[in-house]
C-alpha cells in the first residue's frame, strides 16, 4: 500500500463497504417497518407511557398493573441489579475460597474443591437453575413448617427469611425473623424465585471464579513463595502479603469477563419466573407484540451495564496493575 494508487483504492473499497453496511441497515429497518405496517402492527416506543396491564410480584420498586410500561422496565432493571450484585459478591467470595482450596496443602480439601469446580462448570446453568427451582417448590417443607438453617434464618417453600438491619428507636439493630403459627414473619423475606436465581448464579459462577483465582495464584513464581517462607511468614501471611497482590494482576482482567458473563446470565431468570428485565420484556412482547422495541431495550440496557462494569473493573485494574504495565 505504498503507492498513492493503492491508498486511493483502499479508501474507495472502504467507502463502498460503509455504503453497503448503511444501505443494508436502512433496507432492513425500512423493510421490517413495511411488513409491520402491512400486518397492521403498530410500532414505536409510544407504548412505554401506556398502562402495562400486568403486575410485578417483587422488587425494590413497587409496581402494579395500572402503571406505565417504562416503570415496568425500570422495575425489571432494578430487579436485575438486585439479583446480579449479591450473586457477584457471593460468587467472588466462594470462588476465591475454592480456588485457594484447590491449591491447599491437603489432599482431601484439594479433592473436594476440584470436584466442586468440575461438577458445576460442566452442567448448563439453565439445568442447574431449573433443578433448584423444582427443589425449592417441591422438596422443601411448607411455609408453616420452615426449617431453621441458622439462628434467624428460615427456609421453606415460601422462600428464605434472613435477619435485616432496621432503624428503630434504639438506633440500628438487626430484626430477626420469628416463627409464628402462619409461617415466618419479620426480617427480610426473600421469594423462592429470588433465592433460586441468586443461589444458582453464585454457585455456578463460583466454579469459574475458582479457576481464575487458581490460575492467578499459579502465575506467581514459586521463588516468591519460598522467599516468603525464608522470611518466616506464615502460610496465611505468604498468601496475603506475597501471593495475592501479585496474583490480582492476572486475576482482575479475567474476573471482569466473569462478572460480565454473570450479569448477562442473570437473564436466565426468565426461565424460573423471577421478574427481571428480560422477563418483563418477554411479558411485554406477549402483551402487545412490540418485539423490536423490547429487544432493543434489553440490548441497550445490557450494553450499558457491560460498559459500566468494564469501566469500573478497569479502574480497579489500574490500581492493582504494576506501574507502567497498564
Amino acid at each position: 500500500m505504498s503507492s498513492s494508487r493503492g491508498v486511493w483504492l483502499a479508501w474507495a473499497v472502504q467507502a463502498l463497504l460503509v455504503l453497503a453496511v448503511v444501505a443494508g441497515a436502512v433496507w432492513v429497518v425500512h423493510h421490517a417497518l413495511e411488513v409491520l405496517r402491512a400486518r397492521g402492527v403498530r410500532s414505536g416506543f409510544d407504548f412505554l407511557t401506556e398502562p402495562a396491564g400486568f403486575s410485578i410480584s417483587e422488587g425494590w420498586l413497587d409496581f402494579d398493573a395500572s402503571q406505565p410500561f417504562w416503570r415496568a422496565f425500570l422495575a425489571g432493571l432494578i430487579n436485575t441489579v438486585r439479583a446480579a450484585v449479591p450473586a457477584a459478591i457471593f460468587s467472588v467470595v466462594l470462588g476465591t475460597l475454592i480456588g485457594i482450596g484447590r491449591l491447599a496443602p491437603h489432599v482431601l480439601l484439594r479433592g473436594i474443591c476440584t470436584a466442586y469446580v468440575e461438577l458445576l462448570r460442566n452442567v448448563p446453568l439453565l439445568v442447574q437453575l431449573l433443578m433448584l427451582a423444582f427443589a425449592m417448590a417441591n422438596l422443601l417443607p411448607d411455609p408453616t413448617e420452615p426449617v431453621r438453617l441458622l439462628p434467624g434464618v428460615w427456609l421453606s417453600k415460601g422462600g428464605l427469611s434472613v435477619p435485616w438491619p432496621m432503624v428503630g428507636e434504639g438506633g440500628l439493630h438487626f430484626e430477626l425473623p420469628e416463627r409464628g403459627d402462619f409461617g415466618v414473619s419479620g426480617g427480610a423475606a426473600l421469594s423462592p424465585e429470588y433465592v433460586t436465581i441468586v443461589a444458582g448464579l453464585s454457585f455456578y459462577s463460583a466454579a469459574f471464579v475458582a479457576e481464575i483465582v487458581r490460575a492467578g495464584i499459579l502465575s506467581v513464581s514459586q521463588g516468591q513463595v519460598l522467599a516468603g517462607q525464608a522470611l518466616g511468614l506464615s502460610p496465611v501471611q505468604q498468601l496475603r502479603i506475597v501471593v495475592l497482590p501479585q496474583a490480582l494482576r492476572v486475576i482482575v482482567p479475567s474476573l471482569t469477563n466473569q462478572l460480565l458473563s454473570l450479569t448477562k446470565n442473570s437473564s436466565l431468570a426468565v426461565a424460573v419466573g423471577y421478574p427481571e428485565l428480560v422477563s418483563v420484556a418477554n411479558t411485554t412482547i406477549g402483551t402487545n407484540g412490540r418485539a423490536f422495541e423490547c429487544i432493543a431495550i434489553i440490548m441497550a440496557v445490557y450494553l450499558l451495564l457491560s460498559l459500566l462494569i468494564s469501566f469500573g473493573m478497569n479502574r480497579y485494574n489500574a490500581r492493582v496493575a504494576l506501574r507502567g504495565w497498564r
Binding site: 473436594i112 417441591n138 418485539a291 445490557y302
Partner: protein, 351 residues
C-alpha cells in the same frame, strides 16, 4: 502454599503430618462420610430402579430412577416419531464418531473438511428423511440429544468462517474494516444470548414476506452462529497476536502477498495455538444450546419438560429427570474439557 511433591507419600504427610492437619483430616472425612452416606442411601439403597410409579410414590427417602427407565426415549429424542428413533440415534453416533476422529491431531488434514460436510449431510438426511425408505420428519418434531449436538456442531461450523473474517478484520490495516469488526464483536459480546435468540425468534420473521416463513430451527441456528462468532473471533485474534510479527515481515520480504501470508504462514500457527481455547468454547456453546428451550425448541433440557410435564404419573420425579439430563451434559462437557487439557499438553510438547 503449593504442594511441590505429589503422590501417596506426600499425601500421608499432608493428611497426618501435624495435630492440626490430623484434625482437619478427621473433620473432612466425617463430612465426606456424612454426605456420601446420604447420597448412597438416597440414590442407591432406597432408590427404585424399576419403571414402577406406585413403588416410586411409596418410597420415602429414595430416588426414583424408574422415571429414567420409563421415559429415557422421550428424554433423549423428544417428540421424534417412536418407531423412527433409531435415526437420531445413528445421527448422534455419526457426529460423535467424526468429532472423535477430528480430536486426534494426526487427522488434521484437508480431508477433514469434506468428511465433516458428508457427516453433516448424513445427519440432516437421517433426521429429516423425505427420501424413499425414510419418512419425512419436520424440524418441529426434532428434539433431545441429537438437537443439542446438532445445534452446537452446526452453529460452530457456521460461526467459524465468520469468526475468521472478523478476527482478520479487527487486525486489518483498513480503519473502516477494523471499526466495523470491532463494533460487531463488542456489540454481540455485550448482550445476553437470550436477547439474540429472542431476535431470531420474534424479529427475523419480520424480514420475510408474510407468506413465507423460514423454519424456527434455521432462525435459531442463525442467531446462535452470529452470537458464537463474536466469541470465536476474539479467541482467534488472540492466536493471531501470538504469532511474532517478524514472521509476517520475513514472508513479505520473501515475496508473499498480503493474503498468502495470512493463509500459509500466520493462520496455521495461530489456529494451532488456540485449539485448547476453541475446545473450551465448544463446551460453552454446548451448554448454551440449552437456552433454545426458552424460544420453543425442545433440545435435551426442553425434551425433559415434554417427557414429564404432561404426565401427572411421573411429574413428581422431575429431580431425577434433571439429574439424568445433567449427567448427560456433564459427560459430554467433562470429556471435552479433559480433551482440551490433553491437547494443550501435547501441542506444547510438540516442536
Amino acid at each position: 502454599m503449593r504442594s511441590v511433591t505429589q503422590g501417596p507419600i506426600a499425601w500421608r504427610s499432608e493428611l497426618w503430618g501435624s495435630p492440626l492437619r490430623s484434625l482437619a483430616t478427621v473433620l473432612l472425612l466425617a463430612l465426606l462420610a456424612w454426605g456420601g452416606f446420604h447420597v448412597v442411601e438416597w440414590g442407591i439403597v432406597h432408590a427404585v430402579f424399576r419403571p414402577d410409579a406406585e413403588a416410586c410414590r411409596a418410597v420415602q427417602h429414595g430416588a426414583c430412577w424408574g422415571v429414567v427407565a420409563e421415559k429415557w426415549r422421550p428424554m433423549l429424542f423428544g417428540r421424534f416419531p417412536y418407531e423412527e428413533q433409531w435415526r437420531p440415534a445413528v445421527a448422534v453416533v455419526v457426529l460423535s464418531a467424526v468429532t472423535m476422529l477430528s480430536a486426534w491431531p494426526r487427522s488434521w488434514r484437508w480431508w477433514l473438511v469434506p468428511l465433516w460436510i458428508v457427516a453433516l449431510l448424513l445427519f440432516v438426511l437421517l433426521m429429516r428423511g423425505g427420501v424413499p425408505g425414510l419418512i419425512h420428519v419436520p424440524t418441529g418434531r426434532w428434539g433431545g440429544l441429537p438437537l443439542t449436538i446438532g445445534l452446537a456442531v452446526v452453529g460452530l461450523a457456521l460461526a467459524f468462517p465468520l469468526a475468521l473474517l472478523l478476527a482478520l478484520g479487527r487486525r486489518s490495516g483498513w480503519p473502516v474494516v477494523r471499526t466495523l469488526s470491532a463494533s460487531y464483536i463488542e456489540l454481540v459480546r455485550g448482550v445476553p444470548l437470550i436477547s439474540v435468540l429472542f431476535m431470531a425468534s420474534f424479529l427475523l420473521p419480520l424480514l420475510w414476506p408474510a407468506g413465507w416463513q423460514p423454519d424456527v430451527l434455521v432462525r435459531v441456528l442463525a442467531g446462535l452462529a452470529l452470537f458464537v462468532a463474536a466469541y470465536l473471533a476474539e479467541i482467534i485474534r488472540g492466536g493471531l497476536q501470538a504469532v511474532p510479527r517478524g514472521q509476517t515481515e520475513v514472508a513479505m520480504a520473501l515475496g508473499f502477498g498480503r493474503w498468502p501470508v495470512q493463509r500459509d504462514i500466520v493462520l496455521p500457527q495461530a489456529l494451532r495455538l488456540v485449539v485448547p481455547a476453541l475446545t473450551n468454547n465448544v463446551v460453552g456453546t454446548l451448554k448454551d444450546t440449552s437456552l433454545v428451550t426458552v424460544v420453543g425448541l425442545f433440545e435435551l433440557t426442553g425434551a425433559l419438560g415434554l417427557a414429564l410435564g404432561g404426565d401427572p404419573t411421573w411429574r413428581p420425579f422431575y429431580l431425577e429427570g434433571y439429574l439424568f439430563v445433567a449427567a448427560v451434559y456433564w459427560v459430554l462437557c467433562f470429556g471435552l474439557s479433559r480433551y482440551s487439557v490433553w491437547l494443550e499438553k501435547r501441542l506444547s510438547a510438540a516442536p
